[in-house]
Subunit: 157 residues, 2 copies
DNA sequence: CGCAATTCAATTGCGCACAACTCAATGGCG
DNA sequence: CGCCATTGAGTTGTGCGCAATTGAATTGCG
C-alpha cells in the first residue's frame, strides 16, 4: 500500500477533498439525470438497477441480486416489496431452500423493458463523453473500488 | 450532444449498466472506507465534508456551504443541527440579514482538525492508485458532472 | 442422530438526499 | 410608501444505505 511519501499533509488534504467532492458530485449528478429519465417509468434509480439485473436474468434469488449490486437485505427487502406492489415482480420462497426468496419478473415487469429502451442512449448522450473516455472512467472506478474493498482499513487513526 | 450513432441499443444498455454500476460501487466503496476512518471522530462522511469546508473557511452561511457541497437546506439543516449538538459548530442568525444563518466552528470543532490529520493520507493510500491516476479520475468525473448538469434532460422519453 | 454454527431474508433504527411545502425577511417596482 | 415576488432556513414525507438484530431453515460436526 503506497503512502505518497513525497506529499505534505496539506496537499493530501486538498487532493482528498477534490476526489471525494468530485465522486460525490458525479454520483449525485448521475442520480439526478436518471431521476428525470425514469420518472414516468415509475422507477427510482436503485429500482432501475434491480430491473436491469432482472431483465438480464429473468429471475434471481435476493442473495444474487445483492451480490450483483453490492446491496444487502436491509436495502433490498423494502425495495423489492415496492417493486412487487407496483406489479413488476413477484417474490416466492424457493421450494428447495425455504430460506431463499426468488424474485421473478411479471409480464408487466418484462414489458417495462421496451419503455426503458432509450434511457441508456439518452444518459450516455448527457455525459457528453466519447465512448473511449467512458471506458477509461469505468476502468479507473473499478480499480479504486477493488483496491478500497481489499484495503482492510484499520479503525484506529 | 453526441448520440453514439454507431452503437446498437443493446451495446448502449451494457455500457450504461457498467458505468452506473461502477460509479455506484465506487461511491459506496469510498463511503465505507471513510466510515471506518471517521468512526472515532464521531463524524459521518457528509458531516466530514461540511467540516472540511469549515476548516478551510472558519465560518460560512448555510447557503454557501450548500453551494460548495451541492446540498440543499433539507439535507443541511438536520446535519448542522447534529454537528451543533456534538459541540463542533454554532449557528446564529446573521444580524444584517435575518434570513441567513452563519455556521461557525467552535474551538472543539477547530481542534478536531488535528485528529483528522491522517484521514486523507490513509484514504488515498487505500485507493492504491498513483497520484496521476487520481488526478485523471477526478478530471473525468468533473467533466461528466459538468456535462450532466448542463444537459437539461427532457422528462418525456 | 442431535445440537451448534451458519445462511438467508426481514425488520428496526439512524442518517443522508431530494421534493414539496411553510414561514419570515428582504428587495424591487409601481 | 405599499404590495408582491424572491430568498434563505426549516419541516415533512419518501426512499436509499448500512449496522445490528431476529427468526427460520439448513449445514456440519461430534
Amino acid at each position: 500500500m503506497t503512502t505518497h511519501p513525497g506529499l505534505a499533509d496539506e496537499e493530501l488534504l486538498r487532493l482528498d477533498q477534490q476526489i471525494c467532492f468530485s465522486l460525490n458530485a458525479a454520483s449525485r449528478a448521475f442520480g439526478g439525470v436518471y431521476r428525470v429519465l425514469l420518472r414516468d417509468l415509475g422507477l427510482t434509480y436503485p429500482q432501475y438497477l434491480v430491473m436491469l439485473v432482472l431483465w438480464e436474468e429473468g429471475e434471481l434469488p435476493v442473495k444474487r441480486i445483492g451480490e450483483r449490486l453490492r446491496l444487502d437485505s436491509g436495502t433490498l427487502s423494502p425495495l423489492l416489496k415496492r417493486l412487487e406492489a407496483a406489479g413488476l415482480v413477484r417474490r416466492e420462497r424457493s421450494p428447495e431452500d425455504e430460506r431463499s426468496v426468488t424474485v421473478r419478473l411479471t409480464s408487466e415487469g418484462s414489458a417495462l423493458r421496451e419503455r426503458a429502451g432509450q434511457v441508456p442512449r439518452r444518459l450516455l448522450a448527457a455525459t457528453a463523453l466519447p465512448v473511449e473516455d467512458l471506458a477509461a472512467l469505468r476502468g479507473l472506478l473499478d480499480r479504486v473500488t477493488a483496491a478500497l474493498d481489499a484495503a482492510e482499513v484499520e479503525p484506529a487513526p
